[in-house]
């Protein structure tokens, strides 16, 4: 494993260095003393594993295609922006606009996530992006979602906030959202409906959550014991009647 | 000076002489040569620039200023006193000439910016930059005042009249310099204003120019972005300021600056080897707005030498000649032969290819 000390290093040099060592074939990198550097793993390709000590800056893993990034602390906004494949694991909380336009790969967050998470997520055939958050989420969870899977677990229920914020799945026209707990219809966008998961859904969930639990050393059957709701769009064309031709 | 003229259009004749060994010669030579090209001017403007003429004051900026009226002189001198140490102030020495009935009030000042920078405006500026600012300020803000020379150990003499008349008026034959340029002018549409004659100067840059710069509009706007105030609406002014920007402020050498102003064609750049191609492409891409387009031949004097060059497709004439340590450049061969009947070498520089002559150190 190669260790890079990021203390006081501006993102441009840090990321340049990371790209350089990855292009030379490095498979495991430890970034120490990271604090606020943007764009770590941005556009990075390959099967490298990067472990981050400290709080990385915005747009982590933007456009990323393959690598795995482990963050031991909290993370900021815009993680996995338009990410193509690979995986990001956050042991703390993460911020707003996670997985914007995400096209593949996985985002595993142990704690809470902010506003506008999983918006514009895409998906086609086998390329299915997945975001799993262990805590609660802010408003506009899954807005404009066109594909992929969003899972919100509320494992700890540390405060009395509702599991999701308002406008859940508003503008959604593809993909699936699973919520572990009850969903208030009044918080949902007009374009979605709430369902009980069927047997196939449970199997899918179990597959995703097994990997998630392994990442955070959680007990899968405990997590699966919760009551899940499934949220899907009612129409492929939520705005089909808005326009006159 | 708010002369709200139309853009200046003129035809002209040029002459330039440089003694590389710094031998000083009298202005009468250049006058003689210029007077030969009488068909290139029409009496509405002539002028001379000379380097090495003020050896006694060589470390001071020599401001030549023309005033339309005493109030302009009062305002200008008030500003100068606040910001400059004035070693000497005197009326320009002139002689009565029959053809020159009226002329502006003409004064010269040998000055330097106050050494305690805190005492003057814009204390952060270096002396040269401060002088540029002063010239821009007087020319654009003080109505009826115009600085027509502002370099060290160099002088410009210019006005409305035939070259011989202007020479006699300013007593040119009494000055001795090692670089001389001269200009006779054929303006087509501007009223005879003394400031409109060539050379145009800034610091020790002086430009005499034949032809019209068709890219004036964008050259002007490009310079304005860097704080130059183009008040005269004459295309020659842009050339002086472009050299100031490219050579003094951007640090390009004279050849590179000339190459930027009269850039090689893409067709030729495309066939260069990689390194040269990259440099030429960068030069064109960065300085595209400084490209001088349209017909011109230019003589460009500065404290270290004389440069002659013309446009990319040679729409205006330029002839150069050498004899010993002297190099001559002019619009016509005859103008050179008038003062140097048998040069060792005489040639027409190719389009866009500058003739660069530097003084020996």
């Amino acid at each position: 494993m190669l260790t890079i000390d990021a203390k006081g290093v501006y993102y441009r040099e840090l990321n340049q260095k990371v790209r350089e060592v990855v292009s030379k074939g490095e498979k495991e990198i430890l970034l120490k003393n990271v604090n606020g550097q943007y764009y770590i793993g941005d556009g990075l390709q390959g099967d490298v594993k990067i472990t981050i000590e400290g709080v990385p800056g915005n747009d982590l893993a933007a456009f990323m295609d393959g690598p795995t990034i482990i963050i031991k602390a909290n993370a900021q906004d815009n993680i996995g922006n338009t990410m193509n494949s690979g995986k990001v694991v956050v042991h703390g909380n993460a911020g707003d606009v996670l997985g914007y336009g995400m096209r593949g790969g996985k985002l595993h967050i142990r704690g809470d996530v902010g506003y506008r998470v999983g918006i514009h997520m895409k998906g086609y055939k086998k390329q299915i992006p997945v975001i799993i958050a262990g805590g609660k989420a802010g408003d506009f969870f899954g807005e404009y979602m066109a594909g992929g899977v969003l899972i919100l677990l509320n494992l700890d229920n540390r405060d009395d906030r509702h599991i999701t914020g308002d406008y859940l799945g508003t503008g959604m026209h593809g993909g699936t959202i699973f919520i572990r707990g009850n969903v208030d219809k009044g918080l949902c966008g007009a374009e979605v409906s709430i369902h009980e998961p069927i047997k196939d859904d449970i199997a899918v969930l179990k597959g995703y959550l097994a990997e998630y639990c392994a990442d955070f050393n959680l007990n899968l059957s405990d997590v699966m014991s919760g009551c899940f709701k499934k949220i899907i769009p009612t129409s492929l064309r939520p705005y089909g009647n808005l326009y006159a031709y | 000076m708010s002369h709200n003229f139309q853009k200046d259009i003129s035809g002209c004749g040029l002459i330039g002489i440089i003694n590389k060994d710094r031998t000083r010669i009298s202005g009468s030579f250049v006058t003689k040569s210029l007077c030969l090209m009488r068909d290139r001017g029409n009496g509405l403007g002539a002028g001379y620039a000379a380097y090495g003429v003020y050896p006694k004051y060589k470390d001071l900026y020599a401001f030549h200023i023309m005033y339309d009226e005493p109030s302009a002189q009062r305002d200008t001198e008030e500003y100068l006193k606040k910001n400059y140490y004035i070693e000497k102030k005197e009326p320009m020495p002139t002689a009565p000439v029959e053809g020159i009935k009226i002329h502006p009030i003409l004064y010269r000042y040998f000055v330097k910016p106050l050494s305690e920078k805190a005492e003057r405006e814009s204390a952060e500026l270096e002396d040269d930059d401060f002088v540029v600012k002063t010239v821009m300020k007087i020319n654009s803000e003080i109505d009826g005042a115009y600085v027509f020379s502002s370099g060290k150990d160099m002088a410009v003499f210019k006005g409305v009249g035939m070259p011989g008349e202007i020479a006699r008026f300013f007593r040119i034959d009494e000055y001795e310099g090692y670089i001389w340029t001269g200009h006779t002018r054929f303006p087509t549409n501007t009223p005879g204003w003394w400031g409109g004659a060539h050379p145009f100067t800034l610091l020790d840059w002086s430009i005499v120019h034949n032809g019209e710069i068709s890219s004036y509009g964008i050259n002007k706007r490009y310079l304005e972005m860097y704080g130059y105030k183009l008040t005269l609406l004459t295309d020659t002014e842009v050339v002086a300021y472009l050299f100031d920007l490219l050579v003094r402020r951007h640090g390009l050498d004279v050849l590179t600056a000339c190459t930027a102003l009269a850039a090689p064609f893409w067709k030729n750049v495309d066939t260069m080897h990689d390194e040269e191609k990259e440099a030429m492409t960068a030069l064109r891409v960065i300085y595209g707005s400084a490209l001088l387009n349209g017909p011109f031949s230019i003589l460009f004097g500065h404290k270290n030498g004389l440069v002659g060059f013309n446009d990319r497709i040679k729409l205006r004439p330029l002839v150069a000649a050498t004899k010993g340590k002297t190099v001559y450049m002019a619009s016509e061969e005859s103008a050179i032969r008038e003062i140097c009947p048998s040069p060792e070498k005489i040639w027409s520089p190719r389009a866009g290819e500058p003739v660069i002559v530097e003084l020996e150190s």
Binding site: R103, K122, E143 | I218, L252, Y287, L291
Partner: protein, 503 residues
């Protein structure tokens, strides 16, 4: 129940005497205007959009498409379309959509500008025989260059040049996405761009694999829907563009109707087949200028700083300050789309009433960037209603580095500016995804026509430069001294930074 009270716009007529019953009109019409009764062609004139496909393919010239002579009663205030739209809304409750640029009679400033020419005092240049240069580079330009003396005594370039997009002429093709136009239309643009040494722009719909080979002539676009955006895509062209807005619909987003999302488009965009492709107005990771900076540099990181990043905005009232902010946020190119710019689909109420013309916008932006001393930091692309090389020359003189052409390029492919792009029925195979229609647009054939048109415009531009006595487009760029206004008020002249004719 009455039939629709919305008056048909056009009256399609067939001269039954001339008609030879060949049924070509039935085959060619993408709108199902014509049908076969057993012995003659029947006409459903309600469906006609006057795209004139049938007219051109009728061997007997038997077809005429007239503006419907039945109009509502003449009224200077309540025009035909005011009344018609209300009736349509009464019947549907929907927002009337439209395509192409605004057809409202706002004054076109280009038509009040005249270009200078040389006479005697400076010579014009013969563009056919003397060199005349149109080459243009898009990207950030350092304010100055540094050289150092090499071992051979020659000056060597020391400054590292930021990435530039090289254009052989100051034209690019405007962004038009795969989905809004057909793959064949995109291929036509790509082939022409390659041949001409210019670039096409993918628009926001991602990049079909067939277009990847044209990588030297592509700008890829990233919009709020992030369709088809991945690291390969970002690196697939010579530049990347962030789309914030579009002149035809400033402040509102893209909305590609489900009719235009068949399998291939769905695959390229990674969304379900038949869904509406949504790219709403804000990019939801950009709510402020520092967020724009964050996305610009996210893209630069992903492309290793090797490609200029462009930011496309609609021309709006405060465009000068916005453009300044974009440049300061790190953009290398600012693409400004005037309110007359085209669109595949926009609510007509938005298209016809929001934004400002490109002429004012370019003048204001170029001025502002110069005042702030940052004009060199970014190139400016002007778009939105450029109809001829004269419009292009004028907007370049106002300050644009290059001009983007959308509608004019489509017209070479058969488009008649009928404005019904949003329906997906384009009979010319341009703004449709129906295979039976798109097959009509052969990229090899139509790219020739497009190349012809751009060559003609280039020649015209050279003629204009020659008349101006200059032999490089740099000397026209921003040279407002060479423009004069006719019949413009003092304030407009001041905004444009030009003098009235006669001065």
């Amino acid at each position: 129940m009455f039939r629709s009270l919305v008056l048909p716009e056009f009256l399609a007529k067939i001269d039954q005497v001339k008609c030879i019953r060949c049924k070509r009109c039935i085959q060619n019409c993408g709108w199902s205007v014509y049908s076969w009764s057993g012995d003659k062609v029947l006409i459903d004139t309600f469906k006609c959009v006057k795209c004139l496909r049938c007219y051109h393919y009728c061997p007997e010239e038997a077809i005429a498409i007239l503006d419907n002579p039945v109009r509502y009663r003449n009224n200077a205030n309540w025009g035909f379309y005011n009344i018609r739209n209300i009736k349509k809304q009464a019947e549907t409750g929907g927002i009337p959509l439209t395509g192409m640029g605004s057809d409202m009679p706002y004054p076109v400033l280009f038509d009040s500008l005249l270009i200078d020419a040389c006479q005697v005092t400076n010579p014009s240049i013969d563009p056919l025989r003397e060199p005349m240069e149109l080459r243009t580079y898009l990207g950030k330009k350092p304010a100055k260059l540094e050289f150092e003396k090499g071992k051979d005594g020659k000056q060597k370039l020391k400054t590292k040049m930021p990435p530039q997009i090289k254009l052989e002429m100051p034209f690019i093709f405007a962004p038009m996405s795969y989905g809004s136009i057909s793959l064949n239309a995109q291929k036509t643009l790509a082939i022409a761009a390659k041949e001409l040494g210019i670039v096409m722009n993918t628009g926001e719909g991602g990049l079909h694999e067939d277009i990847y080979p044209y990588r030297d002539n592509i700008i890829v676009q990233v919009a709020s829907g992030r369709f088809g955006v991945n690291p390969d895509y970002l690196n697939a062209g010579v530049g990347v563009e962030i789309k914030i807005g579009q002149g035809a619909k400033p402040g509102i987003g893209g909305h590609l109707p489900g009719e235009k999302i068949p399998l291939d488009v769905a695959k390229t965009r990674m969304i379900p087949i038949g869904t509406d492709a949504l790219s709403p107005a804000p990019q939801h990771d950009i709510y402020s200028i520092e967020d724009l900076r964050q996305l610009i540099f996210a893209i630069k990181e992903a492309t290793d700083y090797a490609k200029p990043v462009s930011v496309k905005i609609a021309a709006v009232h405060n465009v000068a300050a916005i453009a300044s902010g974009i440049v300061r946020a790190g953009a290398d190119i600012v693409y400004i789309d005037g309110f007359r710019g085209g669109t595949g689909a926009a609510p007509s109420i938005i298209r016809d009433h929001l934004g400002i013309p490109i002429e004012h916008a370019i003048a204001a932006v170029d001025d502002r960037l110069r005042q702030e001393g940052i004009r060199n930091e970014a190139s400016i692309i002007a778009a939105g209603g450029i109809r001829s090389s004269a419009d292009a020359a004028k907007v370049i003189a106002l300050g644009a580095d290059a001009v983007a052409l959308g509608t004019s390029a489509l017209i070479t492919m058969g488009c008649t500016v009928c404005g019904k792009c949003y329906t997906g029925n384009c009979s010319w195979g341009i703004t449709t995804q129906k295979p039976e229609l798109t097959v009509r647009l052969d990229p090899e054939v139509y790219s020739e026509r497009l190349i012809n048109m751009i060559h003609a415009w280039s020649h015209e531009l050279k003629e204009i430069l020659g008349a101006l006595g200059i032999n490089a487009v740099e000397s026209l760029r921003g040279s407002r001294e060479r423009l004069r206004g006719v019949g413009l008020d003092a304030q407009t002249l001041d905004i444009l930074g030009i003098k009235p004719a006669g001065r």
